[in-house]
């Protein structure tokens, strides 16, 4: 109870002083209501559902803020107005101009995501006659982070409606869904509007309009905003170095670029015991294993440089973790307590296969360079099966032990 009691004593200590409201607010935010959840799969967590959700949202906030700055930064870099930032604290990154563009682009995504999602939750709550569930709080925060910055808002609204209704409400609402709703929304967008979800024109704000103007004869430089995965898939040279990838100074979906802040969020989730460290770790191990296999294939010389797989296969195995959104998926998506495996052994298998399949899809299907969301959705479907066999295995082992004892 370390954090909670500390915070409580701080609250007592400062009561009556100027700082009291701040501690009270923090305490209320984190620890009220002091109830445990009584239904849905969140019942397995001792905390109240709302508190679990708040913790995840807190872990996501740095990614969101960074995503706003990055949206503006990529835009200004692409226009050639500013130089590339050197490192996380680079002078041209944390500027007011970048933030303004970022807020202007990212905030509508957040508003649409929450507005449409909560509206549908509300309608279903009225129809079904239960209280509004907080289940959408985390999904609504995740959705803006996993879409390209320029996605048209109406598309996002359609996808959110689809994801919440088909992904969640038809199964019985929060805690009953088979698939992760945020990823269902992304999958819908990806298959419904592929031109807005992949390619080199969607990851940097303004690139689409600019390419249209150029097509109409305007004398402008095209913005190329290819992601690193996209470049590798086409066997092109990558212009970003490893530190850029780690700090997140690269184009990509809004919140997935900064590996540094995702690791920060991961530590927060593990520390508060909201996210399962087993799933995070095993996902990364799975990804490394698949990366090693591919590196082995390259070293053995089975795949020549002319192969279309060469670019992605020859990526050093550890580098797979800092390109694309495998880390974001492992930390915030795979650990979703509703759709993941519930048994400890099951979590290892579940996570490992997510990482393994992510890299496999990433390499083998250049049309889906981002295989992480497909791998997680696939394993979401198999999570109950994994749990079933783990539990059956336990039952069998104990039966055997019982027989030995009684015999």
């Amino acid at each position: 109870m370390g954090l909670k009691s500390n915070l409580h004593s701080l609250k007592e200590k400062y009561s009556g002083t100027k700082m009291a409201p701040a501690f009270n607010a923090l305490h209320t935010f984190l620890y009220t209501p002091n109830e445990t959840t009584h239904n849905g799969s969140h019942i397995r967590v001792v905390d109240d559902l709302k508190r679990t959700m708040n913790t995840v949202i807190l872990a996501l906030v740095p990614c969101l803020i960074y995503g706003m700055f990055n949206a503006g930064y990529q835009y200004h870099v692409a226009l050639g107005e500013i130089v590339r930032a050197d490192g996380f604290l680079g002078a041209s990154f944390w500027t007011w101009d970048n933030l303004v563009v970022g807020i202007w682009q990212v905030l509508p995504l957040v508003i649409v995501s929450y507005g449409v999602g909560l509206l549908i939750e509300f309608i279903f709550a009225v129809i079904k006659g239960h209280e509004v569930e907080e289940g959408y709080l985390v999904t609504g925060m995740l959705v803006p982070l996993i879409v390209p910055v320029d996605i048209p808002l109406w598309m996002l609204a359609v996808a959110v409606a689809f994801g919440v209704i088909i992904g969640k409400e038809v199964f019985g609402g929060t805690g009953m869904n088979i698939l992760n709703p945020a990823l269902t929304i992304r999958a819908f967008l990806f298959f419904a509007y592929p031109t807005w979800m992949s390619g080199d024109k969607v990851w940097v704000h303004g690139a689409v309009e600019r390419s249209q103007e150029i097509a109409n004869g305007a004398n402008l430089d095209a913005i190329s905003g290819e992601t690193i995965l996209g470049s590798y898939a086409q066997n092109q040279a990558v212009v970003y170095d490893y530190w850029d990838m780690f700090w997140g100074l690269i184009p990509g979906s809004v919140g997935e670029t900064s590996k540094f802040l995702i690791i920060f969020g991961a530590l927060f989730l593990i520390f508060t015991k909201v996210g399962s460290w087993r799933i995070i770790l095993s996902t990364l191990l799975g990804a490394l294993a698949m990366g090693l296999i591919f590196n082995g294939v390259i070293d053995a010389g089975w795949i020549g440089e002319s192969s279309k797989f060469y670019g992605l296969m020859s990526v050093p195995f550890w580098q797979h973790l800092i390109i694309g959104s495998i880390l974001f998926g492992a930390v915030f998506m795979a650990t979703d307590p509703v759709t993941a495996s519930q048994t400890n052994k099951g979590k290892w298998i579940y996570g490992f296969l997510i990482g393994f399949l992510s890299i496999m899809i990433r390499v083998f299907n250049p049309a889906y360079p981002e295989g992480v969301f497909l791998a997680i959705l696939l394993m979401n479907v198999f999570a109950p099966t994994i749990d079933h066999y783990v539990i059956q295995g336990n039952v069998k082992r104990r039966m055997k032990r019982l027989k030995v004892k009684t015999a």
């Binding site: 048209p152 109406w154 598309m155 359609v158 088909i166 038809v170 819908f188 298959f191 419904a192 509007y193 592929p194 031109t195 807005w196």
Partner: protein, 214 residues
């Protein structure tokens, strides 16, 4: 009600609503998923099944007393196969483009569970007239769902109906496309047909709660 008695009318109307072969019995799903990306194909598929099931039910019903029960499945298959080949040849002769779109799925009417199901469950035990009505009713029930699914998939997926661009031209950016609307590519994929059928089932069962089974 001069032509049909009340009982006979029910043979046709029941499969359209409360005993629909697709949404209630969940038969014939494969073709409902595979060929409903275009409304025209859905309609032709519906007509093809209407012909095969209507005629087939009558033929089986006429032979019902002379078919040895041990080999009845084989006899049924022969009847369906013969009728399906007729449909296939007619389509190839008069609507070649369409028959290419439908490709193997016309041939696969033979394996459509609705047809074998009606032969087994109805035609083997009833007279030709009632069997005919039952066949027509079930085929219509099948066709209605196909057409609903085809309507939404073609409208939202390609922006056309029967091939006519009702929503404007996506390349010239006219009609609704001028305001930034785009076709939903997901609609053209079979999973979306499954989801639309699911939504129809949902709507139907929430309107008629008797249909909900535990």
């Amino acid at each position: 009600m001069g032509l049909l008695s009340k009982k006979d009318t029910k043979l046709i109307t029941d499969p359209l609503t409360d005993n629909n072969p697709i949404t209630i019995q969940v038969l014939g799903i494969c073709s409902a998923l595979a060929i409903t990306a275009e409304l025209k194909a859905s309609l032709v598929m519906g007509i093809a099944v209407l012909f095969v099931l209507g005629v087939g039910n009558v033929v089986i019903s006429l032979m019902r007393n002379i078919i040895p029960s041990k080999i009845r499945i084989i006899v049924q298959l022969v009847v369906v196969a013969a009728l399906v080949i007729v449909v296939d040849q007619v389509l190839k002769a008069y609507a070649f483009e369409l028959s290419k779109t439908l490709s193997v799925f016309i041939g696969l009417i033979i394996t459509n569970c609705i047809i074998m199901g009606r032969f087994e469950a109805f035609a083997l035990a009833n007279g030709p007239w009632r069997s005919f009505l039952d066949g027509i009713g079930n085929a219509l029930g099948y066709a209605v769902i196909l057409i609903i699914v085809g309507f939404f998939r073609e409208l939202l997926g390609s922006g056309t109906l029967f091939g006519f661009p009702v929503l404007g031209d996506p390349i010239e950016q006219t009609g609704v496309y001028a305001s930034g609307y785009e076709n939903n590519g997901f609609m053209l994929m079979p999973p979306m047909a499954l989801i639309i059928v699911g939504l129809i089932i949902w709507v139907q069962r929430s309107r008629n709660r008797d249909l909900i089974e535990d």
